[in-house]
Structures are given as structure tokens and as C-alpha cells.
Symmetry: C2
Subunit: 504 residues, 2 copies
């Protein structure tokens, strides 16, 4: 380790410890903490956040960072150290550009606006939320302005926080293809949706048995219970303290079998990524996944591409039927596979099928772009939202609760996040296409051998953490940059076969 890097190390370690503590409080709040704790605990979190800021944003770190970016110093650094410096520079720029008083005011605002959003969603009153949303957007525009360099647009700054490789130009191309290819496919599929009987899914499923099966399927795909735990929360999520402590949650719905199973496979995909990151870089700035896009690509790889395939279920479907024999005794594997892939226009993103999912994201992307690139009236968002659902899916929400108010992201100021979900899915398809060429994935799945698949992902993607970005990973794994072709082809092949339709 170079002497200059060594001097930086205590600052990095202190910030890592404070960040880990914040993560643990986050986990705890969503899984354990009692109802009335928040007001007092938020004081603790506020102090830890301030200390985190101070541990990184100070003159010493600034000097060391500058020095370590010099060519001579760079030559002394290892690959991971270089990546840490690159990541520190980004974090420094993000945190340092915003005056601390404004940063605190913004955090206070989002804490209120997220509560206002929850209330407004419950009451179906967008007008109660709109004033807060406006303020949040104003702050986001302001903050993006502080960080804008050259001709970068504000929305690109925000997108960059979730993946530096996907800018407006790339997303426009991607979503154009979605419009051109996926929307017509959905229309064809919709005509035949009534042929699929999925009533079995909405019978009564014992929660304790769901818990047991989810634990089984999570371990089956590769979740390591020596390094992770499963808990429950209102919304499923993954959170890690480091690569030896990765936690996932789900929630169980008594009259919906699929919900917990596919959310647990999804979160297991995130968790496997984090568990496979090298010991050498865990607890550093590059010790997490490469980006939101890369992360979603792995969770959706497990959830959809593998998890909703017939081959995946062949060796384990009997176990599911055994667990819920009263409900599934006369549901064949084929019926089940058609059930878990049933696709039709729908209003709620989190309940969307694989085919409509990217259309939900398309709509959010177009609206976010308008918010930041055009001067639109925030009061008009519900109208705009409903129009777009009508245009792209042929249906329109009957309430704001089912429409503009359904997602929490904007109330927290998370703009530019949604596209990661769709691009991640497309990246997963591209990696899958490559892997299918290189190994007998179908055979592996049919024989319950997921080890080779997991090892491929570990050795080519996971272990590097954030040392490489999404494009570098794709170039090295697939030998070409991102392309949406694989995604479109994957959906076309899957759905034309499943629904027995002809579609060019």
C-alpha cells in the first residue's frame, strides 16, 4: 500500500464504520424497531450522518485525494485502490457540492414528504402531496445544478447516481425499442390472456408454510444462511453490512402464493451478488455491487430469467405441491408455469408481470424527463400519468392511489432510479444469452445444479464489486457493449411460445 493511501485509510475506515452503523439502523427500523422509537432514534441517526460527512469531507481527505489522483501516485496503486480513489472522488463531489445546511433541510423535507405521501396515497389526495413534491423537485434541481459540469443536463446528473453508463441518449434508444417491439407484443398477448387459469394462486396459503418454502427456495438458488438472514418488512429489500452479513426481507400475503416466492428469489439474487464480493474489498468504497443497474440485472436474472422458467421448477415443483397440496394437487407444472408468466395490461408496477414491467418504467422515465427537462406544472402530473397509461397500456387508473401516488421513490427525492429496473432486466437478458452459448443452462436447471451458474456470475461479475462499471463488465463478459436486442428477443421468444402466438 502506498504511503499516501495509507494515510487516507483511517478516514475511509471511519466512514465505513459510520455507514455500516447507519445501515444497521435502517435495517432495524424496517424490521424490528418499535412504533414510537423513530423520533428519538432519528436524533442518533442525524448525529451519525453528520459524523459520516465529517469523516470524508474535510481538508485532510481533500488533500490526500488530490494527491492520489496524480499520475505518479496512481502508478503505485493496486487496481482496487485505484477504484476506491475513483469512487471517493465521486462521493466527495456529491457530498461536498451541497451546503450542509441545505443538505440537512432537504433530509428533513424528505422525512416529512415521505410521510405526507403515505397519507396522501391512503386518502387518494394527490393535492395534499403535491406541495411537498414540488419542494423536493426544487431541491433536486438545485443540487443537480451545483454538480452540473459542462453541458450535462440536471436529469443526467441524477441518472448518473444510479448508473454512470446510462444517460438520456441511451435510455431514449432503449425505451424507443420498448415502444416499438414490446407494446405490440403485449397487445397480441392480451388477446389470449383469458386462456390462462391462475385462480389457484389466490387461494389461502398458510404463512408459516410460505416462510418455510421461501427459506428453502432461497437456499436452493444459493443464499448462504451462515452469512445472511431472512426477515420480514412492509416492502421487500436487501441490505448488507458487509459480504459476510447480507440480509433480505419479504412479506407474506395469505391469498397470493407467488408474491413472497418471487420476491424472495429476487432479493436472493441481490444477496448472492453481495455475498460473492471479494473479502479484499468488502468494507471499502467499492465493496458493494457495481451499480443499481448491475444489481437489478442479478436480482431479475434469478427472479425472472431463471426463476420463471419451466426448467427451474422441474426438479422442485413437487416440493411446492407437497407444501400446499390442498390448493395445488390438480395444478400441473405447465399450468403453474403459464400462471407465473401470465401477462396483461395492469396499473401497479410492483405487481406487474415480466412483459408489462418495462412499460411501467417507460412511463415513469418519460415523466421524470419532462419534470427536469421541461417546465411542467407538478399539479398536472396525475393527468399526464393517466394519459400515458391509456396510451401505452390501454387502461387508466380510476384513482391517484392506483396511479401517480403508487410509488414511494419521488417522495424521498429518488429521481432517475426507475430506469435501473428496466435496464437491469435488459442487461440480465444479454448476460443470459451469452451464458446459454457457453454452458448448458437448461440442463443445469433441470438437474437442480445451480452451482455452475452461480460460480460463473461470481467469477465474472460479483467478485469485482464496484471495481468495474456496468459497461466494463458487459464488454468483458459478453465482448460487446449494452444492447437491448437480447431483451426484446428474450421476451418475444418466451411469450410467443407460452401463448402459442405468431409474432415477427
Amino acid at each position: 500500500m502506498s504511503k499516501t493511501f495509507e494515510k487516507l485509510q483511517p478516514y475511509l475506515e471511519k466512514s465505513m464504520a459510520l455507514q455500516t452503523a447507519r445501515n444497521l439502523f435502517d435495517w432495524d427500523e424496517q424490521t424490528t424497531a418499535p412504533f414510537e422509537a423513530a423520533d428519538y432514534t432519528s436524533k442518533v441517526i442525524g448525529i451519525l450522518s453528520d459524523e459520516y460527512m465529517k469523516s470524508l469531507i474535510n481538508e485532510d481527505v481533500e488533500k490526500l485525494l488530490k494527491k492520489l489522483q496524480e499520475k505518479k501516485e496512481q502508478e503505485e496503486l493496486s487496481v482496487s485502490e485505484k477504484a476506491i480513489i475513483r469512487e471517493l472522488a465521486i462521493t466527495y463531489e456529491q457530498l461536498e457540492s451541497i451546503p450542509s445546511a441545505e443538505y440537512r433541510a432537504f433530509n428533513e423535507l424528505t422525512s416529512i414528504s415521505s410521510r405526507k405521501w403515505a397519507k396522501a396515497k391512503k386518502d387518494n389526495r394527490y393535492q395534499d402531496f403535491a406541495p411537498y413534491l414540488k419542494k423536493v423537485i426544487d431541491y433536486k434541481k438545485k443540487f443537480a445544478g451545483y454538480r452540473a459540469k459542462g453541458d450535462k443536463k440536471p436529469y443526467e446528473i441524477l441518472l448518473g447516481d444510479f448508473d454512470e453508463c446510462f444517460m438520456i441518449k441511451d435510455l431514449d434508444i432503449f425505451f424507443d425499442q420498448v415502444k416499438r417491439d414490446i407494446i405490440p407484443l403485449l397487445k397480441e398477448v392480451s388477446k389470449k390472456v383469458e386462456t390462462i387459469d391462475k385462480s389457484y394462486n389466490y387461494l389461502n396459503y398458510d404463512i408459516e408454510k410460505q416462510r418455510e418454502f421461501c427459506r428453502y427456495v432461497s437456499g436452493y438458488v444459493g443464499f448462504d444462511f451462515n452469512r445472511g438472514v431472512i426477515s420480514e418488512s412492509a416492502h421487500p429489500f436487501t441490505l448488507q453490512l458487509h459480504n459476510h452479513d447480507v440480509r433480505i426481507t419479504t412479506n407474506y400475503i395469505e391469498d397470493n402464493l407467488e408474491s413472497s416466492i418471487f420476491s424472495i428469489i429476487h432479493e436472493s439474487g441481490h444477496a448472492i451478488y453481495e455475498m460473492n464480493i471479494d473479502d479484499d474489498i468488502t468494507q471499502t468504497l467499492v465493496g458493494g455491487g457495481a451499480s443499481m443497474v448491475m444489481h437489478e440485472s442479478q436480482s431479475r436474472f434469478y427472479e425472472n430469467i431463471i426463476g420463471r422458467s419451466k426448467e427451474f421448477w422441474e426438479p422442485i415443483y413437487d416440493k411446492l405441491v407437497d407444501a400446499f397440496s390442498d390448493n395445488l394437487y390438480n395444478v400441473s407444472l405447465n399450468q403453474f408455469i403459464r400462471g407465473i408468466n401470465k401477462a396483461a395490461p395492469n396499473l401497479i408496477r410492483t405487481e406487474a408481470d415480466e412483459l408489462t414491467y418495462c412499460i411501467h418504467i417507460l412511463i415513469r422515465y418519460e415523466i421524470e424527463k419532462m419534470i427536469f427537462e421541461e417546465e411542467i406544472d407538478i399539479d398536472d402530473l396525475p393527468k399526464l400519468w393517466n394519459q400515458k397509461y391509456q396510451e401505452y397500456m390501454g387502461i387508466s387508473p380510476s384513482s391517484d392511489t392506483e396511479g401517480i401516488l403508487q410509488d414511494t421513490h419521488w417522495s424521498w427525492g429518488e429521481f432517475g432510479y426507475f430506469p435501473s429496473y428496466a435496464i437491469g432486466t435488459a442487461v440480465a437478458s444479454q448476460i443470459f444469452a451469452y451464458m446459454e452459448d457457453k454452458m448448458p443452462i437448461s440442463e443445469y436447471l433441470k438437474t437442480g445444479n445451480l452451482t455452475s451458474i452461480r460460480e460463473f456470475l461470481r467469477d465474472n461479475i460479483h467478485k469485482y464489486g464496484a471495481i468495474k462499471n456496468t459497461n466494463q463488465i458487459l464488454m468483458e463478459v459478453c465482448g460487446e457493449p449494452f444492447s437491448a436486442e437480447y431483451y426484446v428477443k428474450y421476451l418475444k421468444d418466451k411469450y410467443t411460445m407460452l401463448y402459442d402466438i405468431k409474432f415477427k
Copy 2:
């Protein structure tokens, strides 16, 4: 708030936040964290502990503390601020006296020695643990030496960490009384123990139903689920982040009904104390209970004095029978009360009945005193232990696992802790005697009205946190200093009546 105190405030708040984070990691490790997390998480905890040290032990705090101890400054302070300064002075002296390298080495040692203890206990090999125990004791003697002022003995320094009001002189008087009065009583009771049939307790009790009943009884005594949670861990404990987030654990044993019920009432007693501490002082240095003695007095008040009384069970025993009707349908309330108060010589402290409990503590107290006040050979401890059990209880362990190795405390360096358990119980009896004079406790219990009892404890003890010490509380509540008479009388009355024996 005085200007000087105001300057101190950020240091106090930072240390509070870091301490709260450490508490949360502690909770998490014992209830949630995956098996392999420890090595990586300990790095985080190490850094947070260092930061905690630095936040309090520095020149700024030293100067402010000195100034705030001056008469003129003291005049400007409120009662709670004065108490905070007193507490800070104690903490400062504790932390500052030990060179940080030795402090770290000691923490590393106890982390190893506690694991060596667990292994040695499992293997019944005291000789494998003894070398580590010796080192731990050497450190404790050394550290006590650093802090010794005037003619204070090392063991008194250690005792003072758990309660400043009980020194060797007080404990000698107390334990002499135990020897004089309780041991003969136990001998009389032992003769009649066979008349009590407690076989019902060891049948099979469904864990989920135990969970449900424990939750019920915890709420019944006053645990507030809006401010607290119940979880599970190997050893039951209570931990608070602040007065709005108090957590307790228990563990459920399938063939032992009593175990979880009385441990949950015990921990609820601790929790009610913490929940009732004033909002104004929570998250400060005086925001916890007054001392270990005071804390144990409250937990044992609920567990034993109230919880093992017939009056307590009168309104709720039917509920217990309903929950476990297969096992309890022919167990009368009287039989149950005799069962939960069955007393006989026994070897394991944590399984001891109310009558023998203080004898277990007497033995530990005498041995600890010898370790620190005399030059005894640590290799001889098992012999000494067994002799004392023979002398006081008439039985002797057949293995070190059941003897000297049963408790974890010493492996962590916790000497001087045990007496708190016994003195706490005696304090509880004294407070109970006073309360019985002032209010119709029996009537309250019989009618399921625990509110008045809880409010008395809150208004006279709990709300003050650590603003007052044990003696101050006793003087103000009972109008006299600590006296063991009430404890002896309580046990005599209870057991002569229960066993229908004559005993002067």
C-alpha cells in the same frame, strides 16, 4: 442551560449516538446477525468504540468538566445537569485511567477468554480456561490499581462500577444475615420439598403458544409494545436504545413451562424501568436506571415478589390453563403456586428458586473477595467452589461444568457484578414492605389492576433514571437506608406459610 454546559453538549450527544450504535450492534449480534458476520462486524464495533472513547476523553471535555465541577458553575446547573456532570466525572475517571493500548488488549483478551470459557464449559475442562481467567484477573487488578484512591480496596473499585452504595462492609453484613437466617430456613424447607408435585411443569409445551402467553403476560405487567419489542436469544436480556425503544428477549424451552414465563416477567421489570425514565433525561448519561442493584430490584420485584404470588395469578391463571389445557387441566391454582415456589438445594444459579438464589450469590461473593483480597491460586478455584456448595447447600457439583464454569461473567472480566442480583432482591423486598403499608397491593393484584403499582414505581423510582443513587432512592421512598431485615422477613413469611412449617 449554562454556557459552559452548552459547550459540553455536542460531546455528550456524539458519545450518546456512538453508544446507542454499539448497543444496537450488541442487540443485533444476540438476536439476528448471521453466524459468520462476527469477524467483519467486530472491525466496525472496534472503530465505533474508539470513536466513543475519543468523543469523551479529550482535552476539551476535560477542561469543561473541571470548570463545571466548580462551585460557581454548579450553581447554574439544574438537578439533572448536575447529575450528568457527576456521571461524566465517573465515566471519565474510568476510561481515562486505563492506557488505551491496555484497554484494547484487555478487550481482545476477554473476547478470546469468553470463547475459551464456552469451550471449556462444554468440555468440562476448567484447566483449559484457567490460564485465560488468570490473565483477566491480572488485568482487573491492574486496572483497579490505576483507579484506587485513598485506602479503597481493588474489589471495592469493582463493586462500585455496579453500585456505588454497596461496599465490602455492607455486603459482609448482608451475607452474614443470609448465612444466619436463610440457610437454616432452607434446611427446614428441604425436608418437606417432596410434598410438592411439579411434574406438570416438565411436559411438552408448544413454543408458539408459549410465545403468545409470554406476550400476553408481558403486556399484562405493563410492557408497552409501542415502545418495545420482544425477541429471542440464547440468554434472556434487556437492552434499550432510549426510553422509547426498549427491547427484551427470552428463550423458549419445550419441556419447561416456567422458564420463559418468569424470564419474560423479569425482563419486563427491567424494561418498565427504562420505559418510565423521563423524556428529559433519556439519551443522556443519567438516562438509564440508577444502578445494577436498582435494576435487579425492579426486575425481581415483578418476577418474584409480585409474579410468584397467588394474588397475581388469581385473575390470569385460567388464561394459562386455557392455553395449555392438555397439561394443566387438573393442576389447581394452589398446586401451581406451590410449584413455582418449590425450593431445594441446587447447583445452577440461573435455575435457582427464590430461596436458594442468594446462597448462590453468597458463594460467588466470598470467592470474588478472596480472589482480589487474598493471594489464592486460581487453579484451586474448583475445589473452593465445591467446598462452599457442600458447606452451604449440602450438595457438591459432580463436574466443573455444573460448578465453577457455569457462569459467563468472569470470562468477560465482570467481577463485582453478582452481588447486585442478591442486594437487588433485598431492595425489592424493602420497597414492597413500604408499598404494602401504603396501598392495598393484594387487592390490586387480585383485580388485575397493576396500574397503581406501576405508577408508584414510576413516580418514585423510575422517572429519575440515574439522577439519584440507590441509597437516595431508598431514603426518599422508604424513609430509611438499606436494610436486609425486610428480605429475611419476606422469605421467612412466604416459605413457612407455603410449606406449613414453624420457624422462628
